[in-house]
Amino acid sequence: MKQKKKRAMEKNLEKQYFVMVLPGMVIFTIGLIVPMFMAFRYSFTSWDGMTAEKPFVGLQNYIDLLHDADFRAAWWFTLKFTVCNTIIQNVLALVFAVALDSGIKAQKLYRTAFFIPCLISSLIVGFVWLKMFSNVLPALNDLLGTNFNFLLLGDGKTVLSGLLIANNWQWIGYWMLIYLAGLQSIPAELHEAAKVDGANALTRFIHVTIPMLAPAITICVVGITTGSLKVYDLLVSSTKGGPGRASTSIIYQTYATAINGRQYGYGSAMSVTLVFVLLLVALIQVKGLKSREVQQ
């Protein structure tokens, strides 16, 4: 009797919870999931993005992708950009956060200085750094009589580093704040205890700080990786994927193919590959990082 009543109550509760989840589900499904499935469907057609009919071609687009050198090059660039970004941004953000947390003066001022760039939209960041590399920094050369090569965006060999500088300039402050928040939430007693045990600063950092930061690391690593895989805006206003194709990311290539190249079906197949890679990467990272968190 009691059992039954409890179950009925649970069912009732579940219903109420369900009502709470529903609005969000509906909006999300209509706004994002349905378009994704539409793209998935287009990826099996040779639609040009204009005509009414969308001829079905089966897996042809995906087969073509295997032989598409530009597509491979775009993925190669995207992966390089992502790996470098994930490492550099995480390390620098953490270094800055630790430095700010070391008890220096005017912490707030530095925080603001590092954070301001990420309030600017990527489109503008790209534009500004194009000017920085091509006009401002060379002028600095003239001023100082030095001869650094600042024309990073103008050469296929250096364009990646140029874009990394721009992207890191924009985002380091953001991730730094997350690390900073993590650092400040570590109880001081832990450090004290380690000190008593005779651990030096470095061992304390590795054995106390890093494990305590695990959740923040998860957020930052996943955030930076998935964000970098989706890089597009930054390129539009700076290199436009060039010189040549040296900085063409996968989204940029998708856009150029689907829109300007009027091959919407083929472009959709490209974006589907991106969705799968994103899912895979996020899954692996969350699994890996979470299991580390648990171990600690």
């Binding site: 609005p23 436009k240 060039g242 040549g244 040296a246 190249g261």
Partner: protein, 443 residues
């Protein structure tokens, strides 16, 4: 306090729910294609008065603009307000190169704006889709005959060409005079100037290869004089498999000229934007620039007394023609319910000479209307006139219609840039262009 919070929350949740509700109820209604535009002028009845509009109408306009065009919308608005106060234009101005095609694709799914302003080559892209309206001959007749040729498909004209650009090599007249250089007619002449430049420490060419479009643009200029000049159907033959970039000597020569420029320009070309490049030209840092009328605005903005001329880039046979490009082209929607109002706008554009002159002077471009001549001082005008009187002018739309910009020329330009940078070989670049043959036509 608590109650207040709850009230706010409830209101917010209801807002959220109503948003969801909108989504749900809307899905049932089969939306008619023109809904997007009619909304703005929904009270409009039939409006079947002829050539005049008695009730207020709002027309939507999608304008794909080049850098020089931005700002003409205000001039048109002003003139329209005077002549047809009942008509209001709702402008959506986008960059032609980046955003016009996406916007058109977007609107083809819903319903086109009443008026679209693009380039002459857009007619060939969109007219076969059956979405563009025919332009009334009243207005076409006010334009030059040359304006019609490449916007007419199967005898019907879908575009009103409003102005034109000239493309070729802009040169610093003062510098040419000081060094005793003659206008080069052949590659040998050009090489002599380049050699002399180098001997005197002058950069022969200003260029801005960070803009891939400029590589694509000059390549088409080269193609016009070295390829289409001899074989006006080259593009169609290319699609038929009769010719190819890998085998055609002339096409390869056209590609190779890019290398000539690259080898004779300043090293930072892949970091230099158009504005900076134009400035270098004006400041006397370079002698020549392969470009088009869009540079004039910049030249004169930086130094109103800059003296420059234009000549066609010399081809192998020494008979290069100056390139002419119909630019601003007005297209209309076949579905629009406001044909009368559209015609009024066309009337203002073609009939109001004051407006036309104002626009030409502002954009520093050439007129495509009969009896209208721009009044701005264009130092290169005398050169243009002399080529025109010799019949040495060719319309680039011929090439642009056969080998489309988006997906083909634009992509080829990326390969050329990669080749110049040493990332791929010349043969790779040619092969890549050949592999893109399916994308070379819009339809």
């Amino acid at each position: 306090m608590k109650r207040k919070t709850i009230d706010i929350l409830l209101a917010a949740v209801m807002t959220a729910a109503s948003v969801t509700g909108c989504g749900g109820s809307g899905s049932g209604a089969e939306s008619e294609p023109a809904a997007a535009q009619t909304e703005s002028a929904s009270e409009e009845g039939g409006g079947q008065t002829e050539a005049d509009v008695s009730e207020p109408v709002t027309l939507t306009v999608l304008a794909g603009q080049s850098t020089t065009d931005a700002g003409i919308e205000d001039m048109i608005d002003e003139a329209l307000a005077e002549q047809y106060p009942n008509i209001t234009l709702e402008w959506e101005c986008v960059d032609w190169g980046n955003d016009f095609q996406p916007k058109m694709q977007q609107y083809m799914q819903s319903g086109l704006p009443d008026i679209m302003i693009g380039k002459a080559q857009d007619v060939a892209t969109y007219a076969p889709q059956g979405i563009l309206g025919e332009i009334d001959s009243t207005y076409l007749d006010r334009g030059l005959d040359a304006a019609r040729e490449n916007v007419t498909i199967d005898g019907k004209t879908y575009g009103l060409v409003y102005n034109a650009l000239y493309q070729g090599v802009y040169y610093n007249k003062t510098m040419f005079a000081e060094n005793g250089w003659e206008i080069p007619k052949t590659q040998e002449d050009l090489q002599a100037i380049i050699d002399d430049c180098k001997a005197k420490g002058i950069t022969p060419f200003a260029s801005h290869m960070v803009d891939t479009w400029s590589i694509g643009n000059v390549t088409m200029q080269f193609m016009m004089n070295d390829v289409f000049n001899n074989d006006p159907e080259w593009g169609d033959k290319f699609r038929a498999g009769e010719v190819s970039f890998s085998e055609d000597q002339a096409a390869q020569t056209a590609y190779q000229y890019n290398k000539l420029i690259f080898d004779n320009t300043y090293p930072e070309t892949f970091s230099t934007e158009q504005t900076d490049c134009d400035a270098k030209m004006v400041l006397g840092e370079a002698a020549m620039k392969v470009s088009g009328s869009w540079s004039i605005q910049n030249f004169l903005d930086i130094d109103e007394s800059f003296d420059f001329g234009i000549f066609p880039f010399p081809n192998q046979t020494g008979d290069s023609k100056l390139i002419f490009e119909p630019n601003i082209t007005v297209m209309t929607s076949a579905q629009s319910e406001h044909q009368d109002a559209i015609n009024c706008v066309l009337d203002v554009l073609t009939g109001n000479q004051e407006l036309a002159t104002e626009i030409y002077d502002y954009t520093k471009t050439a007129s495509m209307l009969k009896d209208v001549t721009p009044t701005f001082a264009n130092p290169s005008q005398s050169d243009i006139d002399s080529y025109a009187s010799d019949g040495m002018i060719v319309d680039v739309t011929l090439g642009n219609n056969q080998l489309v910009w988006g997906g083909f020329q634009e992509e080829n330009a990326k390969d050329i840039a990669a080749w110049l940078q040493g990332d791929i070989t010349f043969e790779d670049a040619l092969a890549a262009s050949d592999a893109r043959v399916d994308a070379s036509s819009a339809n």
